[in-house]
Symmetry: C2
Subunit: 224 residues, 2 copies
């Protein structure tokens, strides 16, 4: 457009005013109707733009209270969770996969509150990139959902996304010290610091709990 009345233009203008401190932290900014008139667009367009900034944490909006620039902005970062094989391919490496263990076991104590008291299917597997250890997967599965399924060639990760409906869950990063097993699998030394990612997935009941431990030096990047 010529006049620049797209919602992205409105968002950019708002962003400019925030950055330039025309709208300073703590300030209440003009309401949607006023901005719409000033910028020559419909209120819905202003709404779209300001909602976008609010989702990013750069504005706080409340009915009746108006829209404010937060004093202590809580920015949100997002990162994509891809299938590990795709992750490796995206790095230009050749992915590999090998199952190390696959048994029905009693649920460990710490997992029972999340996945029930019954026995769980415990699968451990190694993902490789160009033949080298990339990531060790330690997974506990609800056995009912994966009855008779083999994970020898297709990783549990990929099988799940293709065969179990989308679900909710939680995810956490932390650091672990390489045990002897981890060190062997990932080709590092015992005690090395490794990045780990725990993920818990629920649908209409518990689905899986998994810990991925990455080879030394691995970084998980997010967009701000």
């Amino acid at each position: 457009m010529s006049g620049g009345t797209g919602w992205q233009d409105v968002r950019d203008e708002a962003l400019r005013r925030i950055r330039a401190r025309i709208w300073a932290p703590g300030d209440r900014i003009p309401d949607e109707a006023a901005l719409a008139e000033e910028l020559g667009c419909a209120r819905a367009t202003v709404n779209r733009a300001l909602r976008d900034l609010a989702e990013a944490g750069l504005l706080e909006r409340r009915r009746k209270g108006g829209t404010r620039v937060p004093l202590t902005p809580v920015r949100k970062a997002t990162f994509s969770i891809a299938i590990i094989r795709q992750d490796i391919e995206a790095r230009g490496q050749v992915p590999g996969y090998r199952v190390l263990g696959d048994r029905l076991e009693p649920a460990p104590e710490w997992l029972r509150s999340r996945m029930g008291d019954g026995p769980l299917r415990h699968v451990t597997a190694l993902h490789t990139a160009d033949g080298a250890g990339f990531c060790l997967e330690d997974r506990w599965l609800n056995p009912v959902l994966v009855e008779g399924v083999s994970f020898e060639t297709l990783s549990a990760n990929e099988w799940l996304v293709g065969n179990v409906s989308f679900a909710e869950g939680t995810l956490a990063f932390h650091a672990v010290s390489a045990t002897l097993d981890l060190a062997r699998a990932l080709g590092c030394r015992e005690g090395d610091a490794l990045l780990a990612l725990d993920r818990e997935t629920r649908g209409e009941g518990p689905i899986t709990w998994v810990r991925l431990v990455y080879a030394p030096g691995h970084r998980v990047q997010a967009a701000l």
Copy 2:
């Protein structure tokens, strides 16, 4: 409304169909106009709902190509980046802060491509929770932006959010092994595995590069 034609209702119905595999991975779903008619709402309402799902990675939309359920969904996780002090307070602990070093230094080789060749202000500080080491901050600042500013009482983190305009940047998680200095500051043993977060911030030029190394056991949680 009675019939329940809000965009969230449309989103929930779409989600139900995805989960129930009425719309299976790879399928193309009906276009907006058809869904609007079927569900008895305006096309804009359907658009809002499907756009929301697409942003979450549960649908793929392309002009002319229509909307599809992705074969390999790339879910997006988001986590909030708060000020460290608020982080500690949210855990019900008493935050503390102590500057360990604050000098102008030549930029290290690896940082020059990102922050220029000139000298940088190098600030190291320890954040504590209930008196115990919580997080060690190793920060390099564009000296022009923080000329004459003291970080003795207010952390650079907080000063920046309050005094430098919002900016873009990158963020990455990885694991580091505790050096002797880290071990002393965080009250752990040398070689312990620690979670680290690198953040780079740019505005109209480089602003800061910072590495936060957390005490052992720290987890960063994200919502899926």
